[in-house]
Assembly symmetry: C2
């Protein structure tokens, strides 16, 4: 009874003295964890100090999101996720190509719905797409957005990478250049980074840096951050603003939600297995914690204003939070938005969901506030 | 194999066409959920459509936070949490008093460490405390912060409610008025709200509304929001800015993280049982979804700039996110900050944790940017 009350008063008041009273329950002395550690000793590695077991439980589909988003959240994670991970370059290419064909099948309708045209081009020697809305408002006439697509550093080659660019061009009225950066298995790190920097460098010839924004999701969000780290090394000016959506800022399994949201996230599901295979394929023997691969380990002083996005079920919520705190600690104006119930990168999943419109409106508004004219 | 690939391309590209292909796995057709629903049919209510089971798993203490914060995160949730819930007014008072004594024992050291003095006073007929730092910087001389303490609407009477005010007065250099609002069991809703509004109304006699900020955590964060809803009804001007920390914006078990972070949060643990008892004690027969009790259901148009705070393990992360989205949808300048690995309201738990300093610096900076001089 005494301990119970101490826990309650620690909760409600949080005084340091109270903490000391319960401190003896810490680290390995939790009976649940200890029992589990013993029973698993033969088969599994020992449980790290302080780890504890969360029991299984039912998670309902929240009624605090739109019906369209409820349908996305209601999908169970694919338990086949980690099976049939491609082993050879040819197997990777076959999987990537099939996925790309599927994506591209949906693009004509999307472009038509949003009144957006997409034209292939080459910028700074790198393949890219000009993504243009029917009307560019006068305030955006001297602005351009650079788009770095997602797809765990392996997927969405060619036109398949333009989907997110079409959404922001259409919803936000921006001219967008979507970079068709090179990817593994043929072109591992640092090819994608070289390409992104080359396009950015070329854009600076005809645009004020302050008038350029960069956006992208997941691997694309990570590539924004590594592009800025490289731009700093090469003494290029910073762009006007960036919008990294749930960036893969750390390619290792590090951070709180990589564990707490494992199997809760129905999109990425887990960092183990398939996702880890893509990280290793990209890094090609380089240290996964190299700041130019996992940018959360880089120096973010001097970065431009940033808007970061994640969801309450996102496996990479901690990646997003760690980048936000790192930017704030470096004195950067960085804001964070989070979406109820969403797993990794679901804010752009369904063009009919009001959350998708709202997400793109927020990003467009941020660029409008931050970019030069 | 085909389904696997379709799932992967849905993930990486998220096209609507892809969604339709997996749509038949939605809502009640998940084999795990269905089996569980059947096996539980005799003993438990049926599983809601779209709910799914997350298996038990180990969650380690993240190494991405300070050692002080790791010690807080390493504490297991108290499994006795819901036992011995007070049943009578006298039992509630005894529990609240014992907790208050515990809190107050730590306050002299805290005041000394931060150079803050605390004096009882009465404002607008309501008991309060003047919380004053040793030095008030010139930019804060014509500013005052109103503090509404937390403690699930029942705890932290009298001086026990001043802890958070001492922290922000000391770290931020602000004059603070901490309201000792009336609480159940003797004074249920709307006594606390009446008191908060009365103090705010009185402050407006001698301060420009734009120079007043309001802050508070948990129940205090919720009371900020209901105070503004009432201020609007009574045609009082809005304050300059607000800082609701992980506000109990909904007193019902509604929102995604009320389920996904159940038992993950080692502070509140669960909305069921004890917490629900405090909500019912406060509401005293009123509808828990009344906007003046659960402010997320209120109209937030015209609210002042807001900074909201939560943590990745916070049971009330969804409360925080829902308020943030609601404010943004109402056109309010609202920012969000999230803390890695933290459960409910742990950002102020240990004065020695660098996260505590950083949290208070962020709130002070936001008020400095937003308040008039």
């Amino acid at each position: 009874m005494l301990r119970l009350e101490h826990r309650r008063f620690v909760l409600f008041a949080g005084i340091a003295a109270g903490l000391a009273l319960v401190g003896n329950k810490m680290r390995g002395e939790d009976p649940v964890s200890s029992a589990n550690a013993q029973s698993q000793q033969a088969a599994a590695p020992p449980v790290p100090a302080g780890a504890r077991e969360v029991p299984s439980r039912m998670i309902p589909v929240p009624d605090t999101v739109s019906p369209e988003m409820q349908a996305i959240i209601a999908q169970p994670p694919d338990l086949d996720w980690n099976r049939n991970v491609p082993k050879t370059p040819d197997e990777w290419k076959a999987e990537v190509q099939e996925a790309a064909h599927g994506v591209m099948a949906g693009l004509p309708k999307l472009r038509e719905a949003l009144g957006v045209t997409v034209q292939p081009t080459t910028i700074g020697g790198v393949k890219a797409f000009l993504v243009t809305p029917k009307v560019v408002p006068s305030r955006n006439r001297n602005r351009v957005l650079l788009h770095l697509h997602g797809g765990v550093r392996v997927y969405n080659p060619g036109e398949a990478g333009t989907r997110e660019a079409i959404l922001l061009a259409g919803f936000g009225g921006f001219k967008v250049i979507s970079v068709d950066y090179r990817m593994p298995p043929d072109f591992p790190y640092p090819a994608a980074l070289d390409d992104a920097v080359a396009v950015y460098r070329d854009l600076l010839k005809t645009n004020k840096a302050k008038n350029v924004g960069i956006f992208g999701t997941s691997a694309g969000g990570s590539l924004i951050l590594t592009t800025l780290l490289r731009a700093k090394m090469e003494h290029l000016p910073m762009p006007g603003a960036i919008a990294p959506g749930t960036p893969t800022a750390d390619l290792t399994k590090t951070g709180d939600t990589l564990f707490t949201n494992e199997m809760v996230d129905n999109s990425l599901v887990t960092q183990d297995g398939f996702i880890r295979a893509t990280a290793l394929l990209y890094a090609n023997g380089h240290d996964l914690k190299d700041p130019l691969i996992s940018p959360v380990y880089g120096d973010m002083h001097g970065f431009p204003p940033a808007i970061l996005t994640s969801g309450t079920r996102d496996l990479y919520l901690s990646n997003t939070v760690r980048v936000h705190r790192k930017l704030r600690a470096a004195g950067v104006e960085a804001v964070l938005q989070l979406w109820e119930g969403q797993s990794h990168a679901q804010y752009n999943r369904d063009i009919k969901a009001p959350e998708t419109r709202e997400y793109n409106d927020e990003i467009a508004r941020f660029f409008d506030l931050q970019l030069g004219r």
